[in-house]
């Protein structure tokens, strides 16, 4: 397979982003995650931190309206710019890793798409977030729930099938079972098999 696109969806705290970064390194591919924010920042004249607030965020239904496919919501327009960006990259024949952004659905028509969804046990996710963000257990749990709720609303607004629905992904993996390192090894083998096939 000359082109490979690895799409990584993830629950917050499951280590999905780290897994995506490591896969990009192992396959020597560019990764589009924060890079997309910089790209949109350069295009819009907004700062990266302003965009980060609106990135993968659902729009407010009360303050936005859609007319013939056009929306006044900045969240919607940023999402659309990101979808167009990854689509153009895919159409150009480039191989890459992309984190989130409904990429498993937006790039579904590309045979070279390998879509993964990383989940984790709540306990391990809380431990990870407590360590990363220096939070207590309760705050970490709330933070995870908040972030996942936001991602879910964002995804389900832009895509018909629900976030995390196994029918959307080639593989759904619980990173708490093997640990992050071994999950990466396992996924590397799977992707290699896909590329060979």
């Amino acid at each position: 397979m000359s082109q490979i696109i690895i799409s990584v969806g993830r629950e917050f705290g499951s280590g999905g982003r780290v897994i995506a970064e490591e896969l990009a390194k192992r396959f020597e591919l560019p990764i589009y995650d924060r890079h997309l924010i910089t790209e949109i920042a350069n295009k819009t004249g907004m700062t990266a931190s302003e965009i980060e607030k609106l990135d993968e965020a659902p729009k407010s239904r009360l303050t936005s309206r859609r007319v013939r496919g056009f929306s006044n919501s900045i969240e919607d327009n940023i999402a659309e710019m990101q979808f167009n960006f990854i689509r153009k990259k895919a159409e150009s024949g480039e191989s890459f890793v992309v984190v989130g952004r409904c990429s498993e659905s937006k790039l579904r028509d590309f045979d070279c798409l390998c879509s993964l969804f990383i989940i984790g046990d709540m306990e391990s996710k809380i431990k990870r977030i407590m360590k990363l963000y220096e939070m207590n257990e309760r705050d970490a749990e709330n933070f995870i729930e908040q972030k996942d709720k936001k991602r879910k609303r964002y995804h389900n607004y832009h895509v018909k099938l629900h976030w995390g629905d196994s029918r959307l992904y080639d593989l759904t993996v619980n990173s708490s079972r093997l640990g992050i390192e071994k999950t990466i090894d396992y996924l590397e083998d799977y992707i290699k098999a896909r590329m060979a096939g």
Partner: protein, 450 residues
Amino acid sequence: MLSAQIFAVIIFVAMFLMIVLDKIERHIVTLGCGLLTLIVVFGICMRNGKAVWDTLALGNFIKSDFWYQVTESESKGINWATIIFIAGMMVMVEGMAKAGFFRWLCMKIAFLVKCRTIPIFITFMLMSAILSMFIDSITVILFLAAVTIELAQLLKFNPVPMILSEIFCANLGGSATMCGDPPNIIVGTSLGFSFFDFLSNTGVCAGICLIFTIIFFYLVFKKELAPKENETIDMSKLPSPSSAITNKKDFIISSVIFGLAVILLVTHSMTHLTVATIGLFIAVITLVTAGKNALELIKKVDYKTVLFFIGLFVVVGGLEETGILEYIADFIGDISGGNAHVMIAIILWVSAVASAFVDNIPFAATMVPVIQSLAVSTGVPIDTLAWTLSIGTDIGGSATPIGASANVVGTSVAAKNGYPVSWGKYCAKLAPATVIVLAISTAYIFMRYL
């Protein structure tokens, strides 16, 4: 009857909420709610087949005054004249867009003013208002905003002030004529007004307001749009207007059809052709001249909007047949204490505030039977109430980014090209402009009609 009234209100409120929440496509919402109105309100609660037939209004098609109208008449139920006219104009506009008409017009005007920022700013506002008198504001803004951004990138200015001003003027221009904004078509066809009736009443008001609007936006935005010192414009770098024309023959044909549509609309009170006839004629002539491209034009028509209207009229018909709208009219009559000034102010400002946040089309469709009842019960002339309703719904929509379709399309085109417009940025300039224009309109109506 009580159960029918309760269900009619529940269905209407549910429809409005679902339109606002935007979870289900709005044409599916209105069609679903329309079907419920026919089955539950008319069928189960009222057991009234005549109400169903009156609301569907299918008999209108075989009536001669639906196509050729000598005396003014009012319509009830589904307003097929509005639907046919809007669909017909959509076909014409698709033909014009395909031929490159709008882009050519924008580039031509920019070249005529030698691509200087402030003259472009003023002429584009005027063009937005004038085009919106005949064409739907979505199409006008779609092309104007795109060309504004293109010019902004070449001439290095911020396009947002210009796009915001164009949006405001498109809504203002739309209020000037019967076909400028969907609420006006609904008001005009429901109450039997002509194009010229609108032009000589709301049109005069819109003209006065446009002068104030241009002055206001010039004062507000002149700093942002002022050319940098010693900056020269190299017009050779800009795409020429003729490059916008995709096919010369199609361009000429679409321009002639547009001219014909304008003439037919302006003279329809003399020719007695109804807007339904004009819409159908324009659509047929566009499709015939399009030849093998006819199917492509039909496919591009926004059929969802047409379906949205059909469902909407049925739901409003439910409120009308059950007498709910008469209660609303009585309520407005009571709180105004029979004082025409208070009544006009209530209709104008409530319509404006409502239209700033919710779709003005269902609002106008609901309010038409209300003002009909008000005219009967209070003796205030129906035309005064009609102009008030039209101005309120058309102008109020400019105040927020979601108030009118042109606002959504304009801000979306800007955002997609790297110029996001937040609620704050939008309302800071356009909400005061809306209040100023509404104040002028209130004074105009008071002085001219009361």
